[in-house]
Symmetry: C2
Subunit: 330 residues, 2 copies
């Protein structure tokens, strides 16, 4: 698989460097790390609670692209599909802390959960208040799987809603409770037509025939729950909605946010066709949608596929979703 890279081992540092060089007005690289932090005036002057996230690389623009006013204070990039190390997460926590504490937004993968917890301990040893929440929005599999459900595209809704609340002055305890509530009300499933090819490997992570697709894939090339014949976009949309809506305790007063997410190699043309089917079908089901976002937001390297996320909006979340943000990718 051809890729626009230099040495495989240099991809992550070069990617982080390229991003920071491209947007120096928004972000700066923290010394001796693959972590970046906000550098806007509001952050420098502020006493807000800090928000830190991170994880393995290959999901760009997650998380680096969501650092900035109204979202993350800092983000840490691990090697591809590999958790960042505790010392680098700790550096991001220190950068993000203004004395009001730091909320860690962690996707539910064993390595991330462990390394963020170790970084939290390091920070607490330094008297920095830290709380962590774990995003597990992927409902492709039951929550009784060994490590629970995975954290996928719904993560950006947690980052956006908590980021806006932090900017407005919410406390660390309030943000941890808010973030957990967003996680509890956010569900995602992904599908792939072609698996991702990890750099340095010559073939996709799993094989699908020219007429096959996979329901329930993860963003690290995890296979899903069913390999089926290719279906029209409208059929895929209806199937994913069935699965997702079955995971909500639906109320007649519900309002939802919808995220249609391209997994890396999916043209926007296809994403908008799919969004059209999703929104038409949700309207038919009398599911009210008040916020939609479409794009390559949380990717799986060069996977050809999409994910669908629904968030059952509570309280003032709609306002927080629409609050100003100044990041590379939101």
């Amino acid at each position: 698989m051809k890729k626009i890279i230099n040495a495989v081992a240099d991809i992550v540092p070069e990617m982080v460097s390229g991003l920071v060089k491209s947007y120096p007005q928004l972000v700066a690289q923290l010394p001796n790390t693959q972590a970046i932090g906000r550098r806007d005036a509001a952050f420098k002057a502020g006493h807000q609670v800090g928000l830190v996230s991170g994880g393995g690389s290959g999901h760009e623009p997650l998380h680096l692209g969501y650092v900035g006013l109204g979202m993350l204070s800092a983000a840490v990039a691990g090697q591809i599909n590999t958790s960042p190390t505790p010392d680098q997460i700790y550096a991001a926590i220190r950068y993000a802390d203004h004395g009001a504490g730091v909320l860690l937004i962690v996707k539910n993968y064993a390595g991330d959960v462990m390394n963020f917890a170790m970084a939290q301990e390091l920070a607490e040893y330094d008297d920095i208040q830290v709380k962590a929440i774990t995003v597990d929005d992927d409902v492709a599999f039951d929550a009784t799987d060994t490590q629970g459900r995975r954290g996928v595209a719904g993560t950006i809704l947690v980052e956006k809603i908590c980021g806006a609340a932090a900017e407005a002055g919410a406390s660390l305890d309030e943000l941890a409770a808010l973030g957990q509530a967003v996680i509890d009300h956010t569900k995602t499933i992904g599908i792939a037509l072609t698996a991702a090819t990890v750099p340095g490997v010559d073939h996709p992570g799993f094989e699908l025939q020219a007429d096959e697709m996979e329901y329930g894939v993860g963003i690290h090339n995890e296979r899903g729950y069913a390999t089926e014949k290719m279906a029209p976009s409208a059929t895929i949309a209806a199937h994913l909605e069935d699965k997702i809506l079955g995971n909500f305790d639906l109320q007649t007063t519900d309002e939802f946010a919808v995220v249609v997410n391209g997994l890396g190699a999916t043209p926007l043309m296809e994403q908008y066709v799919f969004a059209n089917d999703v929104l038409a079908d949700l309207a038919k089901r009398d599911v009210k949608v008040t916020f939609t976002k479409v794009g390559n937001l949380v990717t799986a390297i060069d996977m050809h596929g999409v994910s669908l996320t629904l968030c059952q909006l509570q309280d003032n979340w709609h306002t927080l979703l629409n609050a100003p943000a100044n990041t590379i990718a939101w």
Copy 2:
């Protein structure tokens, strides 16, 4: 080639519908067209000069994603790789006009140039003042080619700079002159590792071997000027810079805007690695860059490749590039 679509003939209407349904606060579809227009309060209240662009589909987010405050007033989507019809362009002109006239931003393809000219005639017959500028930023081939140079990713810089100036009250004559000046100072070249597969066709538009790449591709799957062995990102960056910089009359006081553009199926990871090489190499050449944008901005369906654009900034263009915009994709 698998795609997330329904019927091939429905792709463009479904895509336009999906986009408008996803972002109803920003844009509305013009009746009986595949055109969309701004619907923000500033536009409705305003007497600004209107800005209209459009072209064949397959280049999303161009142009639909650049409709909104500070950029286009309206945009028209043709069928895939096919110019929109004059009547639909004319509808967009009528929508965009507030009495101060309308500037047409046309990419240099024979069909677009012809159809936008016919729409201009229709509008002038209705006493709407219209001027048109033709973007031809692709320096892969000499300008002496039959139809001149193609309009590619540099188009978004024309749309952004003119859009900001229109918002600030520039006249139609001023905007036409400004847009032409931006075109004259903007140069682009693209490369592909894999050609695009047009929906309904089973194979990429041209064949590249597993170790080959193509220099100088167009956004309609046009082959370039050289098929070569795959090279590292840094080598590609240096080659494209050589070609592009040779097309400028360089001054020691120059400041440049840089656009690194993914062509549809290129992960952001690769785009940032490439941006890192571009910016490092430009720094080595003492070429000063004061604005950078990276992403899938002007695509060629699912082509795997990137383009590089440099714009030699004049006057207040840097300020106009950084002026507020509220669109789906800027």
